[in-house]
């Protein structure tokens, strides 16, 4: 029943006005309750809370930070100033006399756009393919499953390198999609098996018996159940996009368009010779730590969110002996 009511709210186009207004209040209270529950579970584990704060900080850095922090382009600072020495350059300066903190902040919007487009593409394609495959079954399922298996078998980085070399993309949105070109497959397979198990649910059978259209069925019965699952994987996909993009920029295989963490690592590594010069190591460490913290936050947040939707993980069984 709960799923049906939630579904009504989601797709009110399919219902008469009077029905909608009746169920809307109950849906809202239900929503509110489940939101409170969600927040409680999130807050129960401090790691989840910290990771949400960290993610919020990165968002701030990419939006407000760019306005507040001065642009890094004036190379007037001292060369290779160590971190935590001056207020003007909190993370020190590079071998070119550019403030490290400024560069990192001003690279954030580019990375955020990249993550958004890559993870978004992954989620949308995975949903479309996985749902169709799991719901339709039969011939469509066979074809799509084979497609998924092929895409999964192709190792990401070499494919990205080949595509990047041939296309030479500069827009963060295009790069994001390239880096997601086979990433959707793993998620689509999971969506498919979720859809398969939802198919077995009695309420789906009921909806089918009631003669609901396929579109309605997918929107009302399948989507609300699969969405949380996909949202969690969204964070993981974003992490994968960051990994791959920084790898390509670090190798110098993508045309460097403006500031980003991978290019910074590349400069510190090649130009600054940071590995063999301890005094230049902070130049390399700055962007590396930025990436590590972000990927930690994404992974931890995804796990925390997983606990909300996946009661199996919540069960505590260790002390029952």
């Amino acid at each position: 029943m709960a799923e049906r009511e939630m579904g009504t709210e989601e797709s009110s186009v399919f219902n008469t006005v009077s029905e909608e207004s009746v169920s809307r209040t109950s849906v809202l209270t239900r929503r509110y309750r489940s939101m409170r529950r969600t927040v409680r579970i999130l807050a129960a584990d401090p790691r989840t809370l910290i990771s949400s704060v960290v993610l919020g900080f990165y968002l701030l850095m990419g939006t407000v930070g760019v306005i507040v922090v001065p642009a890094p382009y004036d190379s007037t600072g001292p060369m290779l100033l160590p971190p935590f020495q001056s207020l003007e350059y909190p993370l020190g300066t590079t071998g070119l006399g550019i403030g490290l903190f400024r560069s990192i902040v001003h690279a954030t919007p580019f990375m955020l756009k990249l993550m958004l487009s890559g993870a978004g593409f992954t989620a949308v394609v995975a949903l479309a393919v996985g749902l169709t495959s799991g719901y339709r079954g039969g011939y469509a399922d066979r074809v799509l499953s084979t497609l998924m298996d092929i895409a999964i078998a192709i190792p990401g980085l070499p494919l990205f390198i080949v595509l990047a070399t041939l296309l030479q993309p500069t827009s963060p949105y295009v790069i994001g999609v390239i880096l997601a070109v086979n990433r959707w497959a793993g998620l689509a397979r999971q969506v498919r098996s979720e859809a398969l198990s939802i198919r077995e649910e009695p309420y789906v059978e009921a909806s089918e018996a009631m003669g609901m259209t396929e579109r309605q069925l997918l929107l009302d019965d399948f989507l609300p159940n699969i969405m949380p699952f996909v949202m969690i994987r969204f964070a993981n996909a974003a992490k994968g996009i960051i990994y791959a993009s920084v790898a390509l920029y670090f190798l110098g295989l993508l045309p460097s368009s403006g500031a980003n963490w991978g290019v910074q690592m590349n400069t510190a590594y090649n130009l600054g010779n940071a590995l063999s010069r301890p005094e230049a190591m902070h130049w390399l460490l700055g962007p590396m730590l930025t990436i590590i913290i972000l990927s930690w936050a994404l992974a931890t947040f995804a796990q925390g969110a997983d606990r909300i939707f996946n009661p199996r993980i919540r069960t505590r069984v260790a002390d029952d002996e």
Binding site: A153, I154, P158, V162, L251, I291, I292, W296, A299, I313
Partner: protein
């Protein structure tokens, strides 16, 4: 052990995969600016060694294996049969060697490092994951899961750079580049130890970067521990050590095994950057150098070789998965 229908299905699927990747590679080579031939001719002409236009054309055809006069489908069939039956991936410009030979020499090194990394990592995450699940909620659980999560958030190439900095440049425990010592190759202790010391840091990077998967093992074990058959096992008085190894680990490893397959693909693809950092002359470094020097034929060959290697790896893993998990034998996946 494995049902023959399942085996057949998986074989057909692997063949389809390899075919698709070959087709993709053929398509991508034709996407080169002006086509592979024009591209190569320009490169050869720029090198200045060949003046005669006709000779240039011939040479370019030898290198790429493409003959532009033929219709596209004929070129496609030539390309496919060349790759499949003669293992002809063309001729490398930069290395002055056949592409197939280049990768045949480099691939075992990559395979060694990647496999070692993944296996050692697997042993660690299974051990710690199961123990943490058994002591769920304890201090040990909290500390190990948190630290594994942090370590697992380090991208493998960042781990590689950090390890190289600390153990290679600062402490000088391990060499900072290369894949074998300068002693005579052979089954001598010096050579083997040397090879291992060159491989240690790359292997360690893989092990560290994949540690986050311990959380999956822990999650699986936690839900296995809640199963009824474990309660029954405890009531029957089976020793807890036996419960851990027989029931918990076995059942929790199964879902991880498919993850292992995907990891293998990721790790193998990652060899491009890992081997560049360590200057470890495996398939990844060959591919990287090819990209840097705009040697597209070698680049596409590397893409093919790595993909086929991963496909075969997945195939083997899938078949053995059927042997480990008795439920798969029915052919129901």
């Amino acid at each position: 052990m494995v049902s023959s229908r399942y085996l057949l299905e998986r074989t057909v699927q692997s063949i389809i995969t390899i075919f698709s990747v070959l087709t993709l590679s053929f398509y991508l080579i034709h996407q080169l600016p002006g086509g592979p031939l024009a591209y190569l001719k320009a490169q050869l002409a720029a090198a200045g060694s060949v003046e005669d236009a006709q000779q240039l054309q011939k040479l370019a055809e030898v290198y790429t294996g493409f003959e532009p006069d033929k219709p596209l489908w004929q070129q496609y069939i030539d390309y496919m049969s060349g790759v499949i039956f003669e293992l002809d991936l063309g001729q490398s410009l930069w290395y002055d060697d056949s592409v197939a030979h280049l990768y045949a020499e480099a691939l075992p090194w990559t395979g060694f490092v990647m496999l070692m990394g993944v296996l050692i990592n697997f042993a660690i995450i299974v051990m710690f994951g199961a123990t943490a699940a058994y002591k769920e909620g304890s201090y040990f659980d909290y500390v190990t899961s948190s630290s594994f999560q942090i370590l697992g958030s380090i991208p493998y190439y960042v781990a590689a750079l950090l390890l190289l900095y600390q153990f290679g440049y600062r402490w000088r425990w391990f060499p900072t580049g290369g894949k074998m010592p300068s002693v005579e190759p052979g089954v001598t202790p010096e050579f083997i130890l040397g090879v291992l010391s060159y491989a240690t840091l790359p292997i360690l990077s893989i092990v560290i970067a994949q540690l986050g998967r311990m959380l999956n093992m822990r999650g699986n074990s936690v839900s296995t521990l809640g199963e009824d058959y474990l309660r029954v096992a405890r009531i029957r008085g089976i020793p807890s050590m036996q419960i851990t190894t027989r029931y918990v680990i076995r059942n929790s490893i199964l879902p991880l095994y498919t993850g292992l397959i995907i990891t293998l693909g990721t790790v193998f693809g990652g060899s491009v950057i890992l081997e560049q950092i360590f200057q470890y002359e495996g398939a990844g470094l060959v591919l990287f150098e090819a990209v840097v020097h705009r040697d597209y034929i070698t680049m596409m060959g590397g893409f093919l070789v790595i993909t086929v290697a991963v496909t075969i790896g997945i195939f083997i893993a899938d078949i053995t998965y059927g042997m480990i998990d008795p439920r798969i034998q029915e052919g129901t996946k």
